[in-house]
Amino acid sequence: MFSGRLNLIDRPLSKGKSEVSLSAFSFLFSEMVQYSQTQVSNIGELERRLEDAGYSIGLRLLEMLCFRERNSKREIKLLDALKFVHSTVWKYLFGRQARDLEQSNAADDEYMISDSDLFVNKFISVPKDMGQLNCAAFVAGIVRGVLDSAGFPARVTAHFVPVPGQPRPKTTILMKFDASVLQRDSALPSG
């Protein structure tokens, strides 16, 4: 079917500067959570669905961000990949870098990115019967998608961490990398 418009592939990729209101996103996200609730029987499954939704986005996001960054070099070191998530990906999603990036004290293969006031959690107060639902599972899915398609497979989960002196807990994205990633990383020359 020939139309006057350019084929999708031939159209230039936009600069990524157009915006929609946060409200539109919140309502759509709300609806996604509500729909997922009808398809699952417990909180764990609900979080997994949110995570899967995020995962498919993360896969696509890596390609687009790397193209936009004009970054022709692929990240091969773990720390560089983490920095990519902490700054570029976060800036794309939330408009700023994440607050903290740290390695876990408990295990070598675990790293954490923390932030507060993520817009997925901003408007949610979870009723008692929903236990520990954390809508940042969506963000965890995006991170997992980005890391996976960059070649750093990991298990990524989102947790609430109460902060003393603040009314709302901060959200921590916990990344537990596969053993293969660490082996490969230690074999690389450092520097």
């Binding site: 079917m1 139309s3 006057g4 418009r5 999708l8 936009s14 990524g16 157009s18 915006e19 929609v20 209101s21 946060l22 409200s23 539109a24 996103f25 309502f27 759509l28 996200f29 709300s30 609806e31 996604m32 509500q34 729909y35 398809q39 669905r49 899967d52 939704a53 995020g54 498919s56 986005i57 696509r60 996001l61 687009m64 794309y92 999603l93 408009g95 817009f119």
Partner: protein, 171 residues
């Protein structure tokens, strides 16, 4: 007004449609579910629209559609629509969208030509208007994803209600 990058919005919507197709398989069901989801969103969205735009009342159906097209679309999707093609009685019109953030990067694959990808927008308009007692029927007449030049939503006024006392006068 707080905004976010429209691509995240587009990608998330795409993810939702993908999930629906996987769950439901039948395209007619997916279209229906998108409309229902849009309706649920519209029912909530109306309050934010009313509060932020400080709209007190619309004088008639024409006024309502203008508000939806100019104020509503701008407020939420950062795009505008034009209201055209009125029928002589003034009960049917078309909303023509030039830019649609939901369909950036999207192409419908072969097996999904019946998919009304943006059906959620029809549901939103229907739900929002119902909360101000205006019943409409809303459908896509032209869809860029299916080869047309632009996106056109056809709005048909069914009825305009009035406030009624909801409880029976029994006590």
């Amino acid at each position: 007004m707080e905004t976010i990058n429209s691509e995240i919005f587009t990608l998330m919507y795409g993810s939702i449609v993908r999930q629906l197709i996987t769950d439901l398989e039948d395209i007619t069901e997916v279209n229906k579910q998108l409309d229902t989801m849009g309706y649920n969103i519209g029912v909530r969205l109306i309050d934010e629209f009313l509060a932020k735009s400080r709209t007190a009342a619309c004088t008639d159906f024409r006024d309502s559609t203008e508000k939806v097209a100019k104020v509503g679309f701008r407020m939420f999707l950062n795009t505008t629509a034009n209201v055209t093609n009125w029928n002589p009685e003034g009960t049917e019109c078309s909303l023509v969208l030039e830019d649609n953030p939901l369909t950036d990067f999207v192409e419908l694959p072969e097996g999904c030509s019946k998919l009304k990808y943006c059906n959620v927008l029809c549901g939103v308009i229907r739900g929002a208007l119902e909360m101000v007692n205006v019943q409409v029927e809303c459908d896509f007449a032209k869809d860029t994803l299916r080869g047309d030049e632009l996106n056109e939503i056809r709005l048909k006024l069914i009825s305009e209600g009035t406030e009624a006392y909801p409880f029976k006068d029994d006590d």
